[in-house]
């Protein structure tokens, strides 16, 4: 479809004029990245789906206010993060640590993980899955503030300034949180890291 190759700026302009099809293309472009980040933060697939959907709905309604001073994805992320924080408050889980399923992400539609290497040895596959499970567990054990910066930096690749903007805190806070989060992860994964 021609729309799929259309530059993002044009799609945004059309969406601002109330073209839902143009916005649909934007959804398709960013849905996986946004869903991935939200899922890492809230750790429940169903919640992540609902929040990602809500984020896009809010974004469509608010797109008239998007002025392009950040990338569209960053702007979408800012909406999503607000929703995540709201969700946590509602769930009363600000500091509650929930166990995470090691198989999470591969449950419903087979699109959870990337395509596996068919030439990989079975024991290597098992080992890899175990390692993933450990890393997932370690990330999920982080406090929300720490997990957020890890997701934003190490999973989504935002720079410190953008993370500070997204979280509404100073860059110095991002820096120190990220360092402490990584130290905590290193501690959790010491058997793997050592």
């Amino acid at each position: 479809m021609a729309q799929a190759q259309e530059p993002e700026e044009l799609l945004v302009a059309r969406a601002r004029r109330g073209d839902p099809a143009a916005f649909g293309v934007l959804v398709e472009r960013h849905q996986d990245a946004l869903f991935n980040g939200i899922h890492r933060m809230v750790r429940r697939r169903e919640d992540a789906e609902d929040l990602a959907q809500e984020a896009f709905v809010k974004a469509y309604r608010a797109i008239g206010g998007f002025e392009g001073r950040s990338s569209l994805f960053t702007w979408l992320y800012s909406i999503a993060i607000n929703l995540v924080i709201s969700h946590r408050r509602k769930m009363g889980s600000k500091r509650r640590l929930n166990p995470v399923s090691l198989s999470e992400g591969s449950d419903d539609d087979g699109r959870g993980f990337e395509v596996e290497d068919s030439t990989e040895r079975p024991d290597a596959t098992v080992e890899r899955y175990e390692l993933r499970g450990q890393i997932e567990q370690a990330i999920s054990q982080l406090e929300d503030d720490y997990r957020d910066v890890v997701v934003l930096r190490d999973i989504e690749g935002f720079d410190y300034e953008t993370i500070a903007g997204l979280l509404g805190c100073p860059q110095g806070t991002v820096k120190s949180r990220l360092h402490r989060a990584r130290l905590a992860l290193r501690e959790q994964l010491k058997d793997v890291v050592a």
């Binding site: 649909g24 959907q53 008239g64 206010g65 800012s78």
Partner: protein
């Protein structure tokens, strides 16, 4: 830089987020300290593990889900950006000035039960919380001073006080200018209060009035909130949490800096605001529009004795909503806010009948609702007065809010109503 300081910088060093001087300091320390190098290697390995985590994908059909959600009800069109935060004080100040000139329209008048402006004003003052009482007191002084001046009894100190107040506060200055109008408004306020009690509605609660947002300790209210569904505005907690932040046009103004306030409940508040302003609010229920009879003046009227309906015209949405909630919460009343779209919303609350009139009077009070122009408009002809000594009972108060400058399709604009009904 001490070894501990260097350690604190290792993550930023890995990310290339250090300035030139800091980077050199860290590199110097790394050259000298093998422990530090080992620590950096561990960190790098840890980060590498996290970065290699597989990326999850949105479920199949996600785009269609979003499009379906957009197609539902009010979510079909982008909204114009909200005024920037720095503009809001100016907007509120303007609304406060307008509120002084509050005009209350009563469709059906009942001169036989109309209380005096003095009585009503006294009741309103009694009911106001301490903080607002102070502001109200200032207004009261303005009234007194104006009265003194009119009677030729104004003393120099009272004039001086009045002038001082005017200088201190723009809003108060505007209030002083609108004293006469306020006096007239207080009379109409009394009519509004009585009209609220006199209005009648049918038995079934209109479907369109089902809750989108709710604050209540009552179990039935909680159940209603659940019905409101995912895309509907959420329950609000405290006054301070309500207007903390919105998804504003300037979300990332100043180089990717989001506004520091990010109260999650305020996001729900923004959603409510959007729904109110939307041309097509989300359908509230499958059961269709409320059962209503469109009366001669275009307002809804039904026939049930335990529902009281009042229409209020407001100027500033945020302020009005905050004010109404404050009043309801102060009275410890459960309530439901339902966006109707087109800048209209409905607030429902149950309460003893005797409280309804006083509550409406307070909601329409210009001192409290600085963004609000109240107009109580029971549309149906009023039933004949019933014998007194009726036992106390609970009524359902339905407050319909319409914005002053948004004409309702098919109806006279509020301004037109103002003139035609007077």
């Amino acid at each position: 830089m001490s070894p501990d300081d260097v350690r604190e910088q290792l993550s930023a060093y890995l990310d290339g987020e250090l300035g030139e001087a800091e980077r050199r300091a860290v590199e110097d320390a790394l050259e000298r300290d093998p422990d530090l190098r080992a620590e950096l290697a561990d960190l790098r390995h840890t980060v590498g593990l996290v970065r290699e985590m597989p990326r999850l994908s949105a479920p199949a059909g996600f785009r269609q889900r979003v499009e379906a959600a957009l197609a539902e009800g009010a979510l079909t069109a982008p909204q114009p950006p909200r005024p920037r935060r720095w503009l809001r004080p100016a907007v509120l100040a303007a609304a406060a000035c307008l509120a002084v000139a509050v005009v209350i329209v009563v469709v059906s008048r009942r001169p036989d039960i109309r209380p005096s402006a003095r009585t009503l004003d006294h009741e309103r003052k009694q009911a106001l919380p301490a903080a607002d009482a102070e502001a109200d007191g200032a207004l009261e002084e303005e009234l007194t001073a104006a009265g003194d001046l009119a009677g030729g009894k104004a003393s120099a100190p009272s004039r001086a006080r009045r002038e001082e107040r005017t200088l201190r506060s723009d809003g108060r200055g505007a209030a002083g200018a609108g004293v006469d109008k306020l006096k007239g408004g207080a009379v109409d306020l009394a009519e509004a209060a009585q009209a609220a009690v006199a209005a009648t509605r049918p038995k079934a609660a209109p479907a369109a009035l089902r809750p989108a947002i709710e604050r209540s300790k009552a179990p039935h209210a909680t159940a209603m909130a659940k019905k409101a569904g995912r895309a509907r505005p959420k329950a609000l907690k405290t006054k301070d949490e309500r207007f903390a932040s919105h998804i504003d046009a300037d979300f990332f103004a100043g180089g990717a800096r989001q506004e520091a306030e990010r109260d999650a409940l305020a996001v729900a508040e923004g959603e409510l605001m959007d729904a109110i302003q939307s041309d097509h609010p989300a359908p509230s229920a499958a059961t269709g529009p409320p059962r209503a009879v469109r009366a001669h003046n275009g307002l809804h009227a039904e026939a049930r004795p335990d529902v009281r309906e009042v229409e209020l015209v407001y100027v500033d949405l945020e302020h009005t909503l905050a004010n109404v909630r404050a009043v309801l919460e102060e009275a410890n009343l459960s309530y439901v806010v339902q966006p109707v779209g087109g800048w209209r919303f409905v607030i429902e609350s149950g309460m003893p009948e005797a409280e309804a009139a006083a509550l409406v009077a307070r909601l329409a009070s210009p001192a409290k609702g600085s963004g609000q122009r109240g107009a109580a408009t029971p549309a149906a002809p009023e039933p004949p007065a019933k014998p007194a000594a009726r036992p106390a009972r609970t009524v359902r108060l339905v407050l319909r809010f319409v914005r002053a400058d948004v004409p309702d399709a098919g109806q006279a604009s509020p301004a037109q109503r103002d003139t035609s009904e007077r």
